[in-house]
């Protein structure tokens, strides 16, 4: 990857924090955060699904809130703190990840980083959700394998785990 060979003036040095590490990047400021994460920083756990705010596969946390990284330019993310699936739980032991394994949620798995990041942000804001709240919160995350029964169940399980001590270390 050659990210320094661009014409002068099209890039500005951009500083962001990703999974706790500060990064200074020389990339076009309109490059979507999604492609910076995947192709520049090699954080490929965040997935490209639609590129148009329609599927949620690219969901990450920006300053603790779930955002769709295909819709956030790196310029707009400058100065913020980004958490990706790789940084959610140090060893993949975030309560949502634990619940996802317990309920055997992933099928192909491709949507699941986005599902997990969305669920983690949702639960940190609403730790004891009703079923309808879960459906409303998760409805924007498409799962082509249709693992919805399990996703819904796992969000509840994650809420239980969080209640009984497995606090969310939400980025």
């Amino acid at each position: 990857m050659n990210i320094t060979s661009r014409e002068k003036g099209s890039n500005a040095m951009i500083t962001i924090t990703v999974n706790g590490h500060q990064q200074t990047l020389d990339v076009p400021s309109d490059m979507p955060l999604l492609w910076v994460l995947r192709d520049v920083l090699d954080l490929t756990g965040t997935k490209f699904g639609c590129g148009q705010n329609l599927c949620g596969a690219c969901t990450v946390h920006k300053d603790g809130k779930a955002v769709r990284s295909c819709q956030v330019s790196i310029g707009d993310a400058a100065g913020s703190s980004i958490t990706t699936i790789e940084g959610l739980g140090a060893k993949g032991e975030h309560p949502v990840q634990t619940a996802w394994i317990k309920e055997q949620v992933p099928a192909c798995g491709y949507c699941q980083s986005g599902q997990i990041m969305n669920a983690a942000a949702f639960l940190s804001a609403n730790p004891d959700p009703e079923d309808e709240e879960i459906v409303r919160a998760m409805d924007g995350n498409l799962c082509r394998c249709s693992q919805y029964v399990r996703i819904q169940r796992a969000v509840k399980t994650a809420a239980e785990i969080m209640k009984t001590g497995g606090a969310a270390t939400n980025g």
Binding site: T44, A107, G109, Q112, M138, C145, S146, Q147
Partner: protein, 751 residues
């Protein structure tokens, strides 16, 4: 049903294998991995032992199963490991899986048709049993005792007061033994009632990687110095050619390399333009600025209506079509019948749209082409890309990844071609990622289908039934060598466009004809979509059965059971189909639960994919219809399978949920159109699979009697639409015959 069984009776496995093994597509590959690697097994005895090349046992006791099937959500590797572990008597925690690259030694490499377990169960069981016997023999030799005095369990051989772990035995270097096909066949396998790990819901081995971002899909693959390509989408799906390409505006994009206008000798792409840059983002921006002067080709005026006109023309011509079923004289009986019911059923264009957009990376290294990307049909994809590159298939290797969904899309390896040709043109590895619009508009979509059914009832029974099915044949596009002969042995037939119409009901006069809609094939070259032909043949047939039951004044369940008499070739199957129906009746409350006005149960049955590897499936849908607006609510879907043997019960349930909701999605939410020769949908706003808020209460369960296991990934997909359609018709009188079923169509049918 004897006649059509000749066409289908060899089953797809035997059929596919025999065609490929006879070299029809240039390979001498057998059905299953051979027993090869005997020499290697001995030579490497200290490091590992491999009784047959499906499994390797390391000196550390780790057992690796070489999985030749693709993993796209079905957790197939986990099931394979369970099957091997059972006969090997290994410790479950020592089991590992490895998804292998394409290599002729693996035999036929295809993942689809819900075949994986059904086809490999025996071979994997025997591989495990051979490993166990070899380890016992080694211990017997080491200890100087008869092998019969020793037993193996939990990864250890014990007997006569001694014990050794599998790892220790392999490390000692005494484990060996060549297992020929005949030796393997002689091994006695465990009876199903003594299974320890088969039938247990183990944690799927691929799941931990899929919750922490470490699972690598094809789209995540990267090579040093690699460039990125973005397709410049042609204005029609097939047949357009690029007259000239102007990339001057794209030159302003930093990182842009070049726009390539590529010739594809395989013929899969008629006009292929790829914008190449040093990042995918730059390639995307550049592609939008590349100007192509397109010749739209011959299909630029084709739309859905034109395909139906062609379908009707074919159906009206008695000389057209291949015969799939012929019992008695259906046409003659109908001609003499007092009242003949006729109905036309349709399905629209349906897309795969796997969550991981189609993508591939290519590299030429030491004269060998390496392709990187998830694939479901290596046996066909390798020669296809070789044809595009104009090299011998032996010079192409396909490296497998986790698949971010397959659903049949990755059975056709056309998406490797842009990357391969761009790599060839530039002399550097190129990764081509389709964006969602490319993925949808270049899909080998499921062809629209148009069907006409006619039937009559006498004394509460079907006296005659005809089903004429017209669609684009996917096999003509994906694997022409796999076309079969029709029952008259006069014409070619695509069994993957007609399976499901060969039902287990006993109809004295039954005629099924498959018509080849060439216009559909030329406009949108079709592919195999989850559940394949039964996704439309069962939709039409099971809906029409209800129309006939209504005509007979019969209850739909009783009507079906009356035809499931198990006579002749339907023996052994019809009874199992009746059993899942009875189970679904009991679980759903059909006939016992009191339903309010405007709410009804609807029933549908299917064999899953094909008679030769049937998964008997029943669905009962409970649906409430608002007779003023046409709006309807799915109160519940009850689905029952007969899977023979469940390897992992939770895995079966997971696949049933997924297949059921796919069926729901195709029944109610998914379709697109063909407009001016192009696929209309461009993203998940125009093509709208089921979301969480649309999931109704589900009751999925299965019967497992301990007989041979069958597939679980697709069968439910076939029954949801007809069960819902039948429920709506019973609840409101509105019969909808075109998928997807929408409130507007229900309202129109009410009027």
């Amino acid at each position: 049903m004897g006649e059509q069984f000749n066409a289908a009776g060899i089953g797809r496995r035997g059929f596919v294998a025999s065609v490929l093994a006879t070299g029809a597509v240039g390979f001498g590959w057998g059905v299953l991995p051979g027993t090869g690697s005997k020499g290697a097994a001995m030579a490497a005895a200290n490091a590992s032992f491999s009784p047959v090349n499906l499994i390797e046992i390391g000196a550390d006791g780790i057992v690796t199963v070489n999985v030749t099937k693709s993993e796209m959500g079905q957790h197939v590797g986990t099931a394979f490991a369970q099957i091997v572990c059972e006969e090997l008597e290994a410790n479950w925690t020592s089991m590992r899986i490895k998804h292998v690259d394409s290599d002729p030694k693996w035999g036929l490499m295809v993942t689809g048709g819900s075949w994986s377990i059904n086809w490999t169960f025996d071979a994997l069981s025997r591989a495990g049993a051979a490993g166990r016997q070899s380890l016992i023999n080694a211990a017997a030799k080491q200890w100087g005792v008869p092998a019969a005095s020793l037993t193996a369990a939990d990864g250890k051989v014990t007997g006569g007061g001694k014990a050794a772990s599998y790892g220790e035995l392999v490390a000692a270097g005494n484990v060996g033994g060549a297992w020929s096909e005949d030796d393997l066949k002689k091994l006695t396998l465990k009876p199903s009632n003594s299974y320890k790990i088969i039938g247990k819901s183990v944690q799927a081995l691929d799941i931990p990687l899929k919750v922490n971002g470490t699972a690598k899909y094809g789209i995540d693959f990267k090579l040093p110095g690699m460039l990125y390509g973005k397709i410049v989408l042609p204005p029609t799906r097939n047949g357009a050619t690029a007259k000239s390409v102007d990339d001057s505006a794209a030159k302003g994009v930093p990182g842009f390399v070049q726009a390539l206008s590529l010739k594809d000798p395989s013929g899969k792409f008629t006009g292929l333009v790829v914008a190449v840059a040093d990042t995918y983002w730059a390639a995307t921006r550049a592609a939008a600025l590349v100007k192509v002067d397109w010749d739209l080709g011959p299909n630029a005026k084709v739309d859905d209506a034109a395909l139906i006109v062609e379908a009707k023309r074919l159906q009206a011509d008695p000389n057209e079509g291949a015969t799939w079923v012929r019992n008695g004289d259906a046409e003659g009986t109908l001609a003499k019948s007092g009242k003949v019911l006729s109905a036309e059923y349709t399905t629209g264009l349906n897309l795969h749209a796997p969550m991981e957009p189609t993508n591939a990376t290519a590299e030429l290294k030491d004269g060998v082409w390496h392709l990187y990307g998830g694939n479901q049909f290596q046996t066909m994809s390798v020669p296809l890309v070789a044809a595009a590159l104009e090299v011998d298939a032996s010079k192409v290797v396909l490296h497998q990844f986790w698949l971010g969904g397959g659903f049949g899309r990755r059975l056709l390896g056309d998406y490797f071609i842009p990357a391969a040709l761009a790599t060839k043109a530039l002399g550097r590895p190129v990764k081509v990622v389709y964006n969602r619009t490319d993925d949808m508009r270049l899909d080998c979509a499921r062809s629209p289908s148009w069907q006409k059914l006619s039937g009559a009832v006498v004394d509460g029974k079907v006296s005659a039934l005809t089903q004429d099915v017209a669609c684009g044949w996917p096999t003509n596009n994906v694997a022409p060598a796999l076309l079969g002969d029709d029952i008259d042995k006069k014409k070619k037939i695509d069994v993957f466009a007609i399976n499901g119409a060969d039902v287990w009901y006993s109809f004295p006069n039954h005629h099924v004809r498959l018509l080849d809609n060439k216009l559909a094939e030329a406009t949108v070259p079709p592919g195999y979509l989850r559940s394949v032909a039964p996704g439309f043949t069962v939709w039409a047939l099971e809906s029409f059965i209800d129309e006939l039951a209504h005509e007979a004044g019969a209850d739909p369940v009783a009507f079906r059971l009356a035809h499931l008499d198990g006579a002749g070739a339907n023996d052994k199957g019809a009874q199992r189909l009746a059993a899942v129906l009875r189970q679904a009746v009991a679980r759903s409350g059909y006939g016992t639960k009191k339903l309010p006005e405007g709410t009804s149960f609807g029933v549908a049955l299917s064999q899953g994919q094909e008679r030769a590897a049937a998964t008997f499936t029943a669905c009962i849908a409970e649906v409430a219809v608002n007779k003023k607006t046409g709006k309807f609510t799915i109160n519940k879907l009850t689905v029952v399978y007969d899977v023979g043997t469940a390897i992992s019960p939770d895995g079966v349930i997971s696949q049933m949920e997924s297949a059921t909701l796919w069926g729901l999605s195709l029944a109610l939410y998914e379709t697109t159109t063909i407009r001016d020769g192009a696929i209309a949908a461009a993203n998940f706003d125009g093509y709208t699979p089921t979301r969480m808020s649309q999931v109704p209460p589900l009751d999925v369960s299965y019967i497992a009697t301990g007989v041979f296991p069958t597939g679980t990934g697709e069968p439910a997909t076939t029954v949801i639409a007809p069960a819902i359609g039948n429920a709506i018709a019973l609840a409101s009188g509105a019969r909808v015959r075109a998928l997807p079923i929408t409130p507007a169509k229900v309202k129109a049918a009410l009027a």
